[in-house]
């Protein structure tokens, strides 16, 4: 898929230090800073955050591009703002 790597990462946010619902609030605030089509890199914890945040992103029209499990057990997501709105 061609949109996987276009543009690289435009902003980063780490939500491993907060709990629901602040996790999604921080994610939304970070996305608001971006333009549609820009990419946010999101670092989040296993468990509830990885179960719920991507689903909420999908509901709001943002597209997860990649997911990586890190050595410390957290996940690294790249998300394209408005990537599902076609």
């Amino acid at each position: 898929m061609s949109d996987q790597n276009a543009g690289g990462v435009d902003a980063r946010v780490d939500i491993t230090g907060v709990v629901c619902p602040v996790t999604f609030v921080k994610t939304k605030v970070a996305l608001e800073e971006l333009e549609d089509g820009q990419v946010l890199e999101l670092r989040l914890s296993a468990g509830e955050p990885i179960q719920n945040i991507p689903r909420s992103l999908k509901d709001e029209g943002h597209k997860v591009l990649s997911v990586r499990l890190l050595d410390d057990g957290a996940y690294l997501l790249t998300v394209r703002k408005g990537g599902l709105a076609v």
């Binding site: 898929m1 996987q4 790597n5 276009a6 543009g7 690289g8 990462v9 890199e41 670092r43 990885i50 179960q51 991507p54 689903r55 992103l57 999908k58 597209k63 997860v64 591009l65 990649s66 997911v67 990586r68 499990l69 890190l70 996940y75 690294l76 997501l77 790249t78 990537g83 599902l84």
Partner: protein, 319 residues
């Protein structure tokens, strides 16, 4: 006054109380739902003939305590005017419970309310060797505790993967609670296969500070359907709709959660066709009626007879 027939009253939903000649009246509720008009009438009756309160039972039922034996007929009549019926107790099919299912709940994998009504229409009050409970829950979250019931029905999503739509982002691997999905990366030092897929992605990946240099873009996915628990998390989270799901019903048989505690047995795979769910329910009810001893719960019957015969009959029914 003639002798009170407690057994007949219990059968008809009037439970004897500690207080002499007072009865807790169990009302019929299907799938935990009552119309507003029914609720108003129940409230009126509780004020007029009870002590002004109702009791919510553990299985979505409503009871009005402190009904006097002499008021039973008039109470039944007043309730009937608003479409409220009394329930049952004793060795028969009890209240069919249900969550709100896919009609209301975002987690719901299947419709539950109409199914509960259909099950109620078929089996409610039917004479059995012992109590027989049916519960319907819309998804794996299992709010209605399907496996506690003699017949439990639980919604599930059977996922199907469409290779063409997949971006191999890895989200499904991350959200799957049982590790049924794996992305297979091209090994970094395994000669030169599949360079097209990996080379294309390299520039952007190297920009990420978290990226390991050896990382290669996955190019295939494997799904172990034997491990799948039908939770649908892959389907709900997939950003490219590569995972599509089909809702189905997982049935369990012989559960109980009273004097004895036993989880219902999962004897057959996910059933997609609602008619087949009803066929399987028919088989289970008939099996228990034929093989259960008086006072023996379905789960006990299955322990005594073994579940193989029932399993075979169920497999036949859902074929």
């Amino acid at each position: 006054m003639s002798e009170i027939d407690y057994a007949a009253l219990k059968k008809g939903g009037f439970m004897r109380q500690v207080q002499k000649d007072k009865f807790s009246m169990r009302l019929k509720v299907i799938g935990g739902q009552l119309q507003a008009e029914q609720v108003f009438r129940i409230a009126e009756v509780a004020k007029k003939y009870g002590r002004g309160y109702i009791h919510l039972t553990s299985r979505q039922g409503v009871e009005v305590p402190f009904i006097s034996v002499g008021d039973i007929e008039v109470v039944k009549k007043e309730l009937a005017e608003a479409g409220v019926k009394v329930s049952v107790c004793g060795p028969r099919v009890r209240t069919v419970t249900a969550c709100q299912g896919s009609a209301v709940c975002p987690s719901g994998a299947v419709e539950t309310t109409a199914l509960a009504e259909e099950l109620d229409a078929r089996y409610f009050g039917k004479q059995m060797p012992h109590k027989f409970k049916i519960g319907v829950t819309g998804c794996r979250n299992n709010c209605l505790k399907a496996e506690e019931n003699d017949l439990g029905i639980k919604g599930g999503i059977f996922p199907e993967w469409k290779a063409g739509a997949c971006t191999f982002c890895g989200l499904c691997v991350a959200v799957c609670p049982v590790g049924a999905i794996a992305l297979d990366a091209v090994a970094p030092n395994a000669g030169a296969p599949n360079v097209l897929a990996s080379d294309k992605e390299k520039p952007s990946l190297e920009k990420s500070s978290f990226e390991k240099p050896s990382f290669e873009k996955p190019s295939s996915l494997s799904f172990d359907s034997g491990k799948c628990v039908y939770c649908g998390k892959c389907v709900r989270s997939c950003p490219s709709s590569a995972w599509q799901g089909r809702g189905g019903y997982l049935l369990s048989f012989g559960g109980m959660f009273g004097n004895e505690i036993k989880e219902g047995l999962r004897l057959i795979p996910l059933v997609f066709d609602r008619e087949k769910v009803l066929k399987a329910a028919d088989v289970a009810v008939r099996f228990y009626q034929e093989h259960g001893k008086a006072g023996e719960r379905f789960g006990r019957t299955l322990m005594r007879t073994g579940a193989d015969d029932l399993k075979r009959a169920l497999e036949e029914a859902i074929r």
